[in-house]
């Protein structure tokens, strides 16, 4: 009902949609980018795009997936503007982590140690539950690249998070 009203240009209905969906969108964006302020800025851009394009949404039930796609597209546009997806250099944080292998890190900090494209694939796979094919279609990355990003990213996260998990569980994991 709210989505239908928003599609017809009702601003209050759209504000209600923002209120209801903001948590999910912001959570996804914060996982993708380290900067909370930037994440919120990109979320607003995503909602703005949603407002401008919502009249073209045919199925109201598809709103959630559609909004997620817009959020990912907004992030991808941001990365493309800054050539973040093409960069092959390892992030500086990762090097810092390797110098201090025993340091406990939470998930967000560990995600920062991944390359942008790796982080994107990992978040879409683990957090959003998307299949490799869906990620490849969404990000326009080759399927093989997506698979290798997820394999390599998982291994890096496991290394980065081992100390963190140990500290949370109260001892080394068997």
């Amino acid at each position: 009902m709210i989505i239908t009203l928003a599609r017809e240009g009702d601003k209050d209905a759209f504000a209600e949609l923002v209120k209801r969906r903001q948590s999910l969108v912001r959570h996804l964006m914060r996982r993708l980018c380290s900067d909370v302020v930037l994440a919120d800025d990109l979320c607003q851009q995503a909602f703005l795009q949603a407002y401008l394009k919502i009249s073209s949404l045919r199925d109201s039930n598809a709103f959630g997936g559609w909004l997620k796609q817009l959020t990912i597209n907004t992030w991808l546009q941001h990365c493309r503007k800054r050539d973040l997806l093409q960069k092959t250099d390892e992030p500086e944080d990762l090097l810092a982590t390797r110098e201090q292998p025993g340091m406990a890190m939470d998930l967000d900090a560990a995600l920062l140690t991944l390359k942008t494209s790796e982080r994107l694939c990992i978040v879409l796979s683990y957090q959003e539950g998307m299949s490799h094919e869906e990620i490849a279609n969404t990000t326009e990355l080759p399927l093989g690249t997506v698979k290798s990003h997820i394999t390599r990213g998982t291994a890096r996260l496991q290394t980065s998070l081992s100390a963190y998990r140990d500290s949370r569980l109260g001892g080394p994991e068997s």
Binding site: A15, Q22, S23
Partner: protein
Amino acid sequence: MSDQHDISLQALFDEPAQIADDSEFVVRTMQRIDQRQRRSLYIWLAVSGGLIIIASLFALPLEIATFITQSFTTPLFSLGSGWLGWLMAPINNAGALVVLLIRLLRFARPKSSEWRVSLLSF
């Protein structure tokens, strides 16, 4: 989800989001939408205004061009609408007179230069 996942990593990702509902975020987002709409309106107004100015700037030269074209087709002598009028129409107008004058000037120019050459050689 058919792809294999690391279970312990998945457990970390599955932890509930700690982002509280933020009414300020909603307000800022809606303000941004309003700003965007206002900006679109201003751009539309600026483009419309620009088109009107361009049209008015081009209106005068177009009117002059139309006036000249109409003047050139005005008959020099009134020969009526009979066969003689139709026959003489291509040369019985101001345009034909202008063309004739230009041809005469171009015809006269070599002669004057020849005259100048002969005067210098003398």
